[in-house]
């Protein structure tokens, strides 16, 4: 039993360019997101229909999370945070389809997303304080804390990516163990917990932590 990503084929037969199954499922979920977004916004009306109402509720809940943490700038960060949430949510839920593995169960995917959040938060910090003002913030409150602050900043993407990866892979391992012991109908309710609930909560948490990192970098 190996929970890691499996290499499906090599691009141009080059051993340095492996294509794993999680990568293919990630492309598939991106396709699903693009197609459903196109379908949901095809004919927008003043009086919303069912689909438009649901999408508007989703956007409003994002804004309700964003506005208290980033006052006045919620709409500027909505595309970034909303994309993170929707991609992680679809990536977690697509693992419920038999035969597909979650792209978020691969450390490469989550570390990539976390590094994007790391770059954006540092860029916003530099933009808010200027380069020297932002760098001076690492020496606060006394200069002796400089290494600890730098280690704390570098630990952010690591903990951010390991949290999602650990939750998804841990749930998958527990499900595999249960399937070995009691195959049949008994593991089905566990899918509701590990697939649906933990998947959606982790997507929400991934977005919330990204908002928190950006707002901390802008405010300190």
């Amino acid at each position: 039993m190996n929970p890691g990503p499996q290499v499906v084929l090599y691009l141009f037969d080059n051993p340095n360019l492996p294509i794993t199954d999680t990568l293919i499922v990630a492309w598939l979920s991106v396709l699903i997101i693009i197609i459903s977004a196109k379908l949901a916004t095809r004919k927008l009306t003043i009086k919303p229909g069912k689909v438009q109402n649901a999408v508007e509720m989703l956007i409003t809940s994002f804004i309700d999370q964003l506005e208290p943490m980033l006052p006045g700038e919620g709409w500027r960060f909505l595309p970034f945070i909303g994309t993170l949430f929707i991609f992680v949510g679809v990536g977690n839920l697509i693992g419920l389809v038999p035969g597909l593995t979650s792209p978020t169960g691969d450390l490469n995917t989550t570390l990539g997303l976390a590094l994007v959040v790391f770059l954006v938060s540092n860029y916003e910090g530099v933009k808010a304080h200027g380069l020297w003002g932002y760098l001076k913030g690492f020496g606060q409150p006394v200069i002796f804390l400089l290494p600890i602050n730098i280690i704390g900043e570098l630990a952010k993407p690591i903990s951010h990516s390991f949290r999602l990866f650990g939750n998804v892979v841990g749930g998958g391992i527990i499900m595999a163990l249960v399937y070995q012991v009691v195959p049949g109908l008994i593991p089905v309710p566990l899918h509701a917990w590990f697939g649906l609930f933990v998947g959606l909560i982790q997507a929400l948490i991934f977005g919330m932590v990204a908002i928190a990192y950006i707002s901390v970098a802008r405010s300190d």
């Binding site: 929970p3 390991f162 949290r163 650990g166 841990g170 391992i173 948490i205 919330m208 932590v209």
Partner: protein, 84 residues
């Protein structure tokens, strides 16, 4: 000086890494206690000030995320120990 065959050495390494994985997940105790404390305090706060429910839940979740990181680290270490 006892000379071990490579199979015995491999078995010892496997045993040690499995024991290490078991020891690593003992760290799951700490985040459990911490997250429970945060949830209990948040319940008290909602009881005291029900109109601030949304802000309290957001703050509680953020604190629980940070305190839960150590548990996730131990889980990841255990996974790496078992499957490497």
């Amino acid at each position: 000086m006892i000379q071990f065959t490579p199979e015995v050495v491999e078995a010892i390494i496997t045993t040690a890494s499995l024991i290490g994985a078991g020891v690593a997940v003992i760290a799951g105790m700490g985040p459990g206690i911490g997250m429970g404390l945060a949830a209990g305090k948040a319940t008290t706060a909602v009881r005291r000030q029900p109109e601030a429910r949304g802000a309290i839940i957001t703050t509680m979740l953020l604190g629980q995320i940070i305190s839960g990181s150590t548990g996730i680290y131990s889980l990841v270490i255990a996974i790496f120990l078992i499957f490497s």
